[in-house]
Symmetry: C2
Subunit: 278 residues, 2 copies
């Protein structure tokens, strides 16, 4: 049997700490680095971040929207970044938040989770608006290949509350429904499961008992979005050790373009997050 993504992630976090660095080559950040917002600027930015974090963290999270805005040449840059990251034994979470009906999700699974794809990642983020069961093709391929899926449950932004806090017929909030579905499916895995949840750091604790998920959490919203490592530690205090992956993007990226400043910011965040979560 293939080792589950959850177990692989847990080992990596034990060795290198719980920080995930987001690679977000937005127009604003590329220009703040004094570069032109072009494919060349994109490539310079993404490779610089990769180089600066390569020996410091276990996981990177490219925000695919910022590559996609350059069309196929942007995806070519993403493929290069992913290939270099793989060579350096970094784990990759492709932040794509894909979600459609099942037959279409099979296409997305092939793109981000199949062995043959140049875009293959260790895990991808997905959105459950079309139904949790419609995600089955991603869940299935992830499990078969030792990869993972992080399903959006409760996000860090306030606007998400209306839908994520709505109540299902069984009087669960939508976010609790999603967490509960993840929990059920993780029971099939030994150790920490292949299925994780995206749960924002700036949120109050949901109704769901977080320590029962059986899989990892991906936690955005730390740094520029206002969450602190201490907030994260409080929300996830009962979860298994090394099952919480804390993602920081802008607060690190704005330290660029100097590699040494990027590296210092990464180390500082890694140590702060590790200390708070220990």
């Amino acid at each position: 049997m293939v080792e589950s993504f959850g177990s692989r992630l847990q080992e990596q976090l034990r060795e290198r700490g719980p920080l995930c660095v987001g690679i977000d080559p937005s127009r604003e950040l590329i220009e703040a680095w004094g570069r032109q917002d072009s494919v060349e600027g994109l490539e310079f930015f993404a490779l610089a971040v990769l180089e600066a974090v390569i020996d410091t963290v276990a996981v990177i999270k490219p925000q695919v929207a910022f590559f996609e805005r350059f069309g196929s040449p942007g995806y070519r840059v993403l493929e290069r970044v992913m290939s270099d990251a793989r060579d350096a034994h970094l784990m990759i979470v492709a932040d794509v938040k894909r979600g459609d009906v099942g037959s279409t999700n099979d296409g997305y699974a092939q793109a981000w989770l199949s062995e043959e794809s140049a875009l293959r990642a260790d895990a991808m983020t997905v959105s459950p608006y079309l139904g949790f069961d419609s995600l089955e093709p991603m869940l299935h391929l992830a499990r078969a290949t030792g990869r993972g899926v992080f399903v959006l449950a409760a996000t860090s932004n306030l606007e998400g509350r209306v839908i994520q806090g709505a109540r299902t017929r069984d009087d669960q909030t939508v976010e609790s429904f999603v967490l509960d579905q993840i929990r059920r499916r993780n029971q099939l895995d030994e150790g920490l499961g292949s299925l994780g949840a995206v749960l924002g750091a700036t949120r109050e604790r949901p109704e769901f008992a977080l320590e029962t998920l059986g899989g990892p959490y991906l936690v955005p919203g730390v740094g520029s979005q206002g969450g602190t490592p201490e907030d994260v530690a409080k929300v996830f205090d009962r979860c298994p050790s090394n099952s919480v992956l804390v993602s920081v993007s802008r607060a690190i990226l704005q330290a660029g373009p100097e590699r040494s400043s990027l590296r210092d910011a990464t180390r500082r965040w890694r140590d702060d997050v590790a200390r708070a979560l220990s």
Copy 2:
């Protein structure tokens, strides 16, 4: 002021009928056409569909998941298909169902709605799970460039019911909340607005008064998914004329690879849908 997407669409549907042909180059369909599931197979498939429908319908809807599974070469094929479609004055709905926090949605808006992008479409589909207001960058750029956005409201698949039918604090269903948000924003436009809704044909009528949306509907689920043109006519009977875009994919695509069969199937569906909706 730029003419709104809704008004442009309405003119096109008046001239060419309410059918939108989905371009879904899935592994299953490419192989059913007797081709290898490769970038070459993808390109053959997508261009054949385009050629077969070019004089028959107003709108095509590439399902981007099936291009993305080939990585950057797949996106290159998509760019070629979109460019050829633009040359032939076909309208393009990019079926991507993107949705993230606002700053990331700005990246997606640049990819699919900006004048400079090789991936620019007339409209894109988006997902509201992270909050309706987080979609603002897409809505803003769409309105500024005469383009459109179709927001997922109620989809055609059964698994979607739990979340789309959940109740917000104001005791609206999630789908009605989404439709209501679209309605409010369309009041800013003259004529039919830039903001549309995705509403499945196989669904019972939602609590929302559909004729008040002020924008177009994109209706999947017709054909292979079980919906009929008569179902669509019943659900949308009070909506303004030429504001309903009916999307058919597999039921047409499986007629290939012969161009004449594809063309015949397209014409048959176009006439059936037009008759039911008239």
